[in-house]
Symmetry: C2
Amino acid sequence: MTHEIVVIPGDGIGQEVTPAAVEVLEATDVDLEFVEAEAGDAVQEATGEALPQETYDLAAEAEATLFGAVGETAADVILPLRDAVDSFVNVRPAKAYPGVDAVRPETDMVFLRENTEGVYAGHEDRLTDDVSTLTRVVTESASRELAEFACEYVAGDDHDGVTIAHKANVMRETDGLFRDTVVDVADDNGVETDEVLMDAFATRVCLDPTQFDVVVCPNLAGDVLSDLAAGLVGGLGLLPSANIGHERALFEPVHGSAPDIAGEGISNPAATIISAAMLLEYLGYDDQAAAIHTAVEETLEDGPRTPDLGGDAATEDVTEAVIDRL
Amino acid sequence: MTHEIVVIPGDGIGQEVTPAAVEVLEATDVDLEFVEAEAGDAVQEATGEALPQETYDLAAEAEATLFGAVGETAADVILPLRDAVDSFVNVRPAKAYPGVDAVRPETDMVFLRENTEGVYAGHEDRLTDDVSTLTRVVTESASRELAEFACEYVAGDDHDGVTIAHKANVMRETDGLFRDTVVDVADDNGVETDEVLMDAFATRVCLDPTQFDVVVCPNLAGDVLSDLAAGLVGGLGLLPSANIGHERALFEPVHGSAPDIAGEGISNPAATIISAAMLLEYLGYDDQAAAIHTAVEETLEDGPRTPDLGGDAATEDVTEAVIDRL
Ligand SMILES: CC(C)[C@H](C(=O)O)[C@@H](O)C(=O)O
Ligand SMILES: CC(C)[C@H](C(=O)O)[C@@H](O)C(=O)O
């Protein structure tokens, strides 16, 4: 069976790391067909639209989409695309790798970030000259769906349960509903939970990241806390992510388009290649995904490495090294 | 002139670290009169109210209040107390100290956190069984007042300007208003600004905290990002804070009531003693404040140290050592 994969390289280093990940996917024996689509600053400049309807439609119909990075228009592109694939959870593993300089080399956790609501629901108003408001939305149904995913997520593997990170001491009704719903669903599924305020999480994860394994959180908390974990493992260059929907999904590195180094061919393709491995897992090709994970890990440990990791290799050298190790 | 200082020890280690800080204040030549007041879990249990009206009124009338820590009722106590002193900014220095094990020993920054609104304005509703909402409020006036404070704050000392941490790419109207107002006020005052998305801040501060000096942020961003910085300097035991109002102010360590070690007399009084030094600064006693800062720094470097910092000294030993060094 051929799987159709939409590929959206985007801007800046997205144009380098996305083709690199596609090369790695092509080097596996999985039958994939790639359809390239445009989005980002460059398209916006050319056409006035950062996310062409055609790209949205392709992502909304394909089994899976691989996304690179876009520049200034990031929010205008990635938020509608998450919507296009009907994504309810953003899976963000944050793991330090041997050979990569990390503030906290013992970091190994995964964030399951709510992907549809919270402040991202985005009802804003300018009530008067002085007063602006944003209506943050938390629903029982979205919290439940995330929690059910979390329970499935921890079921297979060797996890002790889930940690809920929230701010229900201040956002009592909304984060209270989130927390209570996740606890209920977890109880029903025999999954253990503990909870931590998102501010306390920020302190504690720096002091000892091994306290945390699977972290379930509202949308903005997941955004900030996963980026914090990225800092602990040595930068965004290594973090992949999966936006999982009901019938399709979108995979993207957590990093941006890095305009400062774009075009030089020295960007680190690791996060996008690992995102591609998550894509294969999603399609059911666990062995091929595992092979990519191992090949990336070996390459991070033994080189070649791009300049962000202290090496002087090109994107292409790293990509080839990963493929050679498959 | 005698200054009346309201002292609210609260729960847990608040009962140890607050008297310690009062002892240090008494060892200076500043003429202070202390009035003790109650708040927290214990009072709640005894009277049904975590924050007695009398305590609120005392804080609302005194020149300055020194607050320790409270337990489960933290939000019910500290948020109204910030309101009682009419506080518009929460000043949170995050600085690593020689002799204290820190993930990032080069950390030295201060957060100026908006202290009245954002999600803390707290209009929440349960619209249906499924849907809950919270109305986040951002006003031009509160943003302006914070920005004016920030400009005064950087004026005296050797600062390069301020960094605005926000999430205006998603919260366009509300954080957009916050950001634009701070930029406008800073421009008018000849203060340089740069800006960073709060998620990117979380990554970047781990990778290199020296990038940041004075960070101006909305309420929740300030809560989370300052706690993150606390993690980088080695825990909350060291972070002081000042809630500055128009005519009065409230000083508190950033840490909580630490029920696990409460009553053992081994809690670290440093954050509360430094908060007391900020109180003296606020009253205009810069020399006495500086003497306390120096004495705490010397004590952190040369000991005695409490167990949280790897020592085996008691709260009282540390307090005496600080007083001896004044
Ligand atoms: C670009 C932005 C809208 C996005 C988000 O906030 O989700 C980004 O920070 C991310 O984490 O993917
Ligand atoms: C206790 C809580 C309401 C409070 C806050 O969120 O401001 C605390 O986390 C703090 O930072 O002082």
